[in-house]
């Protein structure tokens, strides 16, 4: 009903292709996150959906209707801009109601919606203020209120929280989810912040250089990254990617080896050039030798209070491990183990995930949480 | 074709029509300066002359001391531009880098003079210049043009864009304030200074009021005054010659503009926003 369908959407600026063939379906009521580093084309995609940017080729359907040639105003979308784009000379209530008045919504309805969104977003009492008299968080809420008051089927957000400081951002994030639960629009949300992506999104489309690197639920993006780019982008500190060779059920890491489970060994058979991926927080650190552990020397530690990142050198390779303990110091010898169900292997040339043994793969494919939410 | 594209084409037609109206006089002058007088009457619509001739220009160079006239104009314009740029830079620096009592009021008073029409200062300046025995001299034309606050305003605007930290870094190295102006501020805002200078030069080149008040003898005439000799409201009899003089008059400002348009336009773009 309120789905967004993109079929082979492309965008060129002159000869430069910034969006390279996009096929995404956003289900009705879904929250899709467009995530990626700056300049990856994610904002361009949002602006193409909004009708603020021409689509070079491909087809865009909103609620089943092809909208390539519809003006922005005819698409029934609402948008929250990065810098909020409030009308600086209008009061808060005028900002919220201006578009409704222009579109001749009747006055009772306007005032009902206004009161409703202002209450929901805790803006009551600020009706007569001008944007410059508001705090950053209040401005952000006014921008959201304006978009919500339109009651359109599609809510587009372009890095809406990036101008807020950390504490406010957390609050605003929760509020966004709450608003979405109340109004149920189909939501496309652009961000470069992985925490926002993980917490807000039903699904994440991770972009790099105009292409989708991975499109899946937050859990899957984290647990089963489709490629090296995804593995490195998600998580902080980012995932360790080390050159590795599989030989007779053993993996060489630096100058040492550890043995793989039989399932892994079967899965990797015949695959030559590989990279091993392991998240820092999945590495188990010990001070004493143990079975199947790799020895390394601590070079440097970063203490975050609740956890410590330990940078470990091992035969020319550097790995980072996160631990809740802070007893390690430079020069310490440590022993690392890599849990078999937490490691990933990628093809060295293509960067693609080579797959998982069946016992692990099942958990990646069925993300019941997402299916339940969308159904 | 989408409605947006159609609208854009329509708007381009509007914008281009405006452009034609604005540029037609220039084309008209250029075209007729290469026509004989009789051709100019008989083939008015012909923008590219069918039988181009140089006779108007030959006439200008043989009958009119055009070199002298041009040099007179140039002399006044250079004096006005150089002096105004120098004083404007110094004053703008005083208003930007220094704090002194009455600064804001003084700045306000000086900038307000932009609103004083020339008829207010016309007579006293005429009398002053006469008393200085500079009536009917080129210097006498240049002097009243020097009291112009636009340069102070434009250059100060551009000085204000220099980050404070750059100046502070220089001050910490124990640079004198004049040294900061010479070695840091001026190089940083060189484009603005240059375009203000060119704007002054062009304005003075085109100046009509002060030359017409001050100059009597033909040997001191500027291009504007020479051109005026060919005018009556019906157009005068040496119309094509007048067009040749017109072309020569606008050649220098247009040339300067075409070369420096980027700077000039960006200077004016920021001038409205105070």
């Amino acid at each position: 009903m309120k789905s967004i369908v993109m079929k082979d959407i492309r965008k060129n600026y002159g000869k430069v292709e910034v969006v390279k063939g996009l096929d995404i379906t956003v289900d009705s009521g879904e929250k899709l996150i467009l995530l990626g580093p700056s300049g990856c084309g994610k904002s361009t995609i949002l602006r193409m959906i909004a009708g603020l940017e021409d689509i070079t080729s491909g087809e865009l359907y909103l609620g089943g209707q092809k909208v390539n040639h519809l003006r922005s105003g005819e698409r029934n979308v609402s948008m929250v801009f990065q810098n909020y784009a409030l009308f600086p000379h209008m009061t808060v209530e005028d900002n919220i109601t201006y578009g409704l008045r222009i579109n001749k919504v009747n006055e009772d309805e306007i005032s009902r919606r206004k009161t409703d969104v202002m209450k929901t977003l805790e803006l009551s009492g600020l009706e007569k203020r001008k944007p410059r008299e508001l705090s950053g968080g209040q401005r952000q809420r006014v921008a959201l209120a304006r978009a919500v008051a339109k009651q359109s089927c599609f809510l587009l957000l372009d890095e809406p929280l990036s101008n807020l400081d950390v504490q406010l951002r957390e609050h605003a994030r929760k509020e966004l989810v709450r608003i979405h639960e109340k109004f149920g629009q189909t939501m496309v949300y652009v961000t470069h912040d992985q925490v926002e992506a993980m917490t807000v999104g039903d699904r994440i489309a991770l972009f790099s250089e105009g292409k989708v690197q991975m499109l899946d639920t937050p859990q899957n993006v984290y647990n089963c990254p489709a490629n090296v780019f995804t593995a490195k982008f998600i998580g902080s500190p980012s995932c360790n990617i080390i050159g590795a060779r599989e030989k007779n059920g053993f993996v060489e890491v630096g100058n040492q080896v550890f043995s793989l489970s039989a399932q892994w060994a079967g899965c990797l058979r015949g695959k030559e050039d590989l990279c091993l991926g392991i998240s820092p927080e999945q590495i188990e650190l010990r001070e004493t030798p143990r079975d199947n552990a790799i020895k390394g020397v601590v070079r440097y530690c970063e203490n975050y209070g609740h956890k410590t990142s330990v940078f470990i050198e091992n035969g020319g390779t550097e790995l980072v491990a996160s631990t809740e303990e802070s007893r390690f110091g430079p020069g310490d010898v440590v022993y690392m183990t890599f849990p078999q169900d937490k490691i990933h292997f990628f093809d060295k040339k293509t960067g693609h995930n080579v797959g998982y043994p069946e016992n692990i793969a099942r958990s990646c494919e069925n993300d019941s949480l997402y299916k339940r939410r969308i159904a | 074709m989408s409605p947006d594209t159609r609208r854009e084409i329509f708007l381009h037609i509007v914008l281009l029509s405006v452009l034609c109206v604005l540029l037609f006089p220039l084309a008209f002058a250029l075209s007729n300066s290469f026509k004989t007088l009789s051709d100019a009457y008989t083939s008015v619509g012909e923008l590219i002359p069918a039988r181009p001739t140089l006779e108007n220009y030959i006439h200008v160079f043989s009958r009119l001391d055009i070199a002298r006239i041009t040099l007179n104009t140039l002399f006044i314009a250079v004096i006005a531009a150089v002096f105004k740029v120098a004083t404007s830079v110094l004053s703008a620096y005083a208003f930007t880098a220094y704090e002194f009592k009455g600064k804001n009021i003084l700045y306000f008073v000086i900038i307000s003079t932009i609103f004083i029409p020339f008829n207010v200062t016309m007579l006293p300046n005429y009398l002053t210049i006469s008393r200085m025995r500079l009536a009917d001299t080129l210097l006498g034309v240049a002097l009243p043009q020097l009291a112009d606050a636009t340069g102070i305003f434009l250059i100060r605007q551009s000085m204000k864009t220099i980050p404070k930290s750059i100046i502070e870094a220089a001050a910490m190295e124990n640079k004198s304030r004049f040294g900061i102006l010479r070695d840091i501020v001026i190089p940083l805002i060189r484009p603005a200074i240059m375009s203000v200078g060119i704007i002054f030069f062009i304005n003075s080149w085109n100046e009509y009021v002060w030359p017409v008040l001050m100059l009597k003898s033909r040997s001191n005439f500027t291009l504007s005054l020479a051109l005026q000799m060919y005018i009556s409201s019906e157009g005068g009899t040496e119309f094509t010659v007048a067009m040749a003089v017109s072309v020569l008059t606008m050649l220098v400002p247009l040339g300067l503009y075409l070369v420096f348009q980027k700077f000039i336009i960006s200077t004016f773009t920021s001038s409205g926003v105070k």
Binding site: G73, S78, M79, Q82, L86, P88, Y98, G99, N103, R132 | R7, L11, H12, L15, L22, L23, F24, P25, L26, F28, N32, V44, L90, A94, F95, T96, A97, Y98, F100, L106, T113, F115, I116, P117, V120, T121, M122, L123, P124, L127, P144, A147, K160, P163, L223, L227, Q228, I231, E234, G235, F239, M243, T249, P253, L254, Q261, I265, G272, V273, K274
Partner: protein, 293 residues
């Protein structure tokens, strides 16, 4: 950038202050002074007449004619050089995707050309018998009047000539203000299906009002002074003062008929008018917070 607090600033200011004192402030005082005297510029004695010059100005019907003409000039100049560029710059910055730079620099070209050139070229373009416009109109069965001898139209033509010069300049200045309105804000309105006309009136006008008011005032102040050149070159205020404005008329009194008293009084009157405009502009800036960054 602030690095000092002292009187040495005046060393930098001295050259400017000297020329301003000699050619701006002193003349201002002197014109004011001379407006209370009867003089002809050559007589050794000036006769003090008090407010007589002003009184005679205010009782003369010619003054009201000049004021009327000035008003007409102001209206035409504002329509052509304020309203039109305002709308056009909005069109260019919001509704047109290609050619912005081109239009900007091409429109400005006439602004660097002398108004004497403009005057002489336009007398031919608008020549009622053999000019291109007359010939074009002839095809349509129309004709142009002898404008330099026709009340009313003469002001229109002189304003057109002046507009030719200031249009491009004004266009660039107002475009600077209009394109200062953040693109996101315009887009926010576009998403809500606000028609362009309403975007202009409800959003762009208020948000660019600082530049707008500045240009409004400058169009009047500069425009009336610029018109002086075509008037002086082409009509000398005629026919029968039909094309004279405040500025030209004071020139006429001062340098054509040598009556410095009324001439100076007229100049002061002009100044009063302009000061009022300046005052209005500053009031505007004080009262209204403007939204340009």
């Amino acid at each position: 950038m602030k690095i000092g607090r002292d009187k040495r600033a005046f060393l930098y200011l001295a050259p400017s202050l000297a020329v301003f004192a000699a050619f701006m402030f002193w003349p201002l005082v002197r014109t004011f002074y001379l407006s209370f005297f009867s003089w002809n510029m050559v007589k050794p004695v000036k006769k003090f007449v008090g407010l007589a010059n002003y009184a005679s100005l205010l009782s003369s019907s010619l003054t009201y004619r000049i004021l009327g003409n000035t008003t007409v000039y102001i209206i035409i100049l504002l329509a052509v050089n304020f309203a039109a560029p305002y709308i056009l710059s909005f069109v260019l910055s919001c509704a047109v995707k290609r050619g912005k730079g081109f239009y900007k620099s091409a429109y400005f070209m006439p602004s660097v050309v002398s108004l004497v050139v403009g005057s002489i070229v336009y007398t031919w373009i608008l020549n009622p018998v053999s000019g291109p416009v007359a010939l074009l109109l002839k095809h349509l069965g129309l004709s142009i009047p002898v404008w330099s001898k026709t009340d009313g139209i003469v002001i229109v033509v002189l304003s057109v000539i002046t507009s030719w010069k200031i249009f491009g300049y004004n266009f660039i200045v107002i475009l600077g203000g209009v394109s200062g309105v953040s693109e996101e804000v315009i887009e926010a309105a576009l998403i809500d299906d606000v028609p362009l006309r309403r975007i202009f009136i409800d959003i762009v006008l208020p948000m660019s009002s600082a530049t707008g008011v500045y240009l409004f005032v400058m169009t009047i102040v500069q425009g009336l002074q610029y018109v002086f050149t075509p008037i002086k070159v082409l009509t000398q205020g005629g026919p029968n003062y039909a094309s004279s404005n405040l500025i030209y008329q004071s020139y006429h009194e001062l340098f054509v008929v040598y009556r410095t008293g009324p001439g100076c009084a007229l100049s002061i009157l002009t100044l009063a008018l302009f000061s009022l405009l300046l005052f209005l502009e500053f009031r505007f800036f004080e009262k209204k917070v403007y939204y340009e960054s």
